[in-house]
């Protein structure tokens, strides 16, 4: 039996390097030897401002996690969106604001329910949690988007928060916030939609900033360690690129040959 899949050797080597960097950084941070500080992410800081504004205006907050679920390749963005949902729920409970959440994939409804309830529990207001504020609007892109648009308009949301994977509905959602004059905080790692969020929202989380939210909000050393390890993997990528560019310019193809393995 051949255990080596040609064409994936370099991928495997990279996977081992990246995992090693993340695990080492994670264990160092968890052990308390060094827990790095995370740089300020304006989009996440703005959530409290958005919740506060909604509370002052006596109007609700609209929240979605995009079109992803936990069964697709975008699940990591959905999970990041749910992390921020928990934080938003905690803030909403603390200030007494109404939080409306619109799941797209029915399988994340129970997760969202639990995440929101935990947020209310952390704020010491479990009794204020209302499961009916999790509103299922069908699992089809444009009906869902139109449902969010209509509900946002009727409820006159004062804060519009969208975190997760988005596609062509992103501007429709931004338009909903524009109609109601809501403060808009949006984030996605879908590179084909980031520009819409940058243009249409007050604060945008760009790409990996969304995934950093879990560590940023929880201040959990394990999660911060994982983020630190991911920084090292990016540094590794930069180093390989620079070495590769210099070698290629010198007509040495050893690195290119290895990457193609």
């Amino acid at each position: 039996m051949n255990f080596i899949n040609e064409g994936l050797v370099a991928s495997f080597a990279m996977l081992v390097i990246v995992l090693a960097e993340i695990l080492i950084a994670l264990f160092i941070a968890r052990g308390g030897t060094h827990v790095p500080k995370i740089r300020k992410i304006a989009g996440l800081e703005a959530i409290e401002e958005a919740v506060g504004r909604a509370t002052e205006m006596g109007r609700p907050i609209t929240y979605t996690t995009g079109l992803g679920g936990i069964r697709d390749q975008y699940y990591y963005q959905t999970v990041a969106g749910l992390n921020i949902l928990g934080h938003t729920a905690e803030l909403a409970a603390k200030y007494g604001a109404k939080l409306l959440y619109f799941p797209y994939d029915p399988t994340i409804m129970p997760m969202a329910h639990e995440v929101m309830e935990q947020g209310y529990i952390r704020a010491g207001k479990q009794e204020a949690f209302n499961p009916e504020n999790i509103i299922y609007l069908g699992g089809d892109q444009f009906p869902w988007a139109f449902g969010v648009l209509g509900t946002t308009y009727r409820e006159q949301s004062a804060a519009n928060i969208h975190m997760g994977p988005f596609w062509a509905e992103s501007l429709i959602l931004a338009e909903a916030g524009f109609y109601t004059g809501a403060i808009q905080v949006m984030g996605t790692a879908n590179y084909h939609q980031i520009h819409f969020f940058v243009v249409a929202s007050d604060y945008a989380l760009i790409g990996e900033e969304l995934m950093a939210a879990g560590a940023y909000l929880s201040k959990d050393p394990t999660q911060i360690g994982s983020l630190w390890g991911a920084d090292f993997s990016k540094l590794t990528a930069i180093a390989i690129m620079l070495i590769g560019v210099i070698l290629t310019a010198a007509n040495v193809t050893a690195l290119n040959d290895f990457l193609a393995l």
Partner: protein, 248 residues
């Protein structure tokens, strides 16, 4: 199983489909003027249909994947009982006593997906990007000829990729040399977003044009009914909106 021709109306209902399609389109677009009872009605209809469709599609997909498909449960392959039982465990969400059991399928699905995706992610989002950068032409015949020379584009791209990557360092202070790099990276990101925005807006316009073409070209037995229906639908929207306003 859901019949393969589901969603296709019989020819005798073409007229109904044309009328319904035109009215639904106008009622939905009337939201751009103002939210009104007709746009709300179509919105609810749209959402309801999507919910029913998702339910039917998932039920059908689950049965055809695990029960009725080739070499599945119905043909004696009992290993498929495991995913079926795991799926059914989702319903423990509704039980106070056995609530914890619902977490197992969620954890398993999330774990399996993480394991399955990480290899593909390393290949497409990490290795392929490094490979493409390393292979950018910097030397060789014709690389520095013409305007703009391919070599100059390569240098701009290398600087853009590296500085944009440094923008996503989260655990190191963006000060000193790293601060300069992240600032340059931010400019590259903004230029990319601007260019992508222009391109995608055009694509969105084509979606709208597609809907206009539907109105323009919808016919029934060579009669272009949509032409007559659009003004009727528009008048109905105005009347209903005025009625809604008169109610206060």
């Amino acid at each position: 199983m859901i019949p393969p021709n589901i969603g296709q109306l019989p020819p005798e209902l073409d007229l109904f489909a044309a009328i319904f399609g035109v009215f639904a389109t106008i009622f939905i677009y009337s939201f751009l003027w103002k939210e009104n009872p007709l746009s709300r009605a179509v919105e609810h209809l749209f959402v309801g249909l999507a919910a029913v469709f998702t339910l039917a599609f998932m039920y059908d997909a689950a049965l055809s994947q695990a029960v009725w498909g080739t070499n599945r449960l119905a043909e004696g392959n009992f290993i498929w009982i495991i995913p079926i039982l795991l799926s059914l465990m989702y319903f423990f969400f509704f039980s106070k006593k056995y609530f914890f059991l619902y977490r197992y399928p969620v954890s398993i699905v999330a774990g399996v997906m993480a394991g399955m995706m990480i290899c593909g992610m390393i290949q497409s989002n990490f290795l392929a990007q490094i490979q493409a950068t390393v292979e950018l032409p910097l030397v060789g015949a014709g690389v520095w000829e013409g305007w703009p020379p391919a070599g100059l584009n390569s240098i701009i791209m290398i600087i853009g990729i590296i500085t944009a990557l440094t923008f996503f360092f989260f655990t190191w202070e963006h000060t000193g040399a790293l601060g300069i790099s992240t600032r340059i990276g931010r400019y590259f990101l903004m230029a990319t977003f601007g260019s992508a925005y222009g391109g995608t807006v055009m694509a969105r316009m084509s979606l709208f044009i597609g809907r206009l073409r539907f109105l323009y070209e919808t016919s029934y037995q060579d009669w272009f009914w949509a032409w007559y229906l659009v003004p009727i639908a528009a008048i109905i929207v105005i009347l209903v909106a005025l009625w809604d306003r008169s109610k206060g």
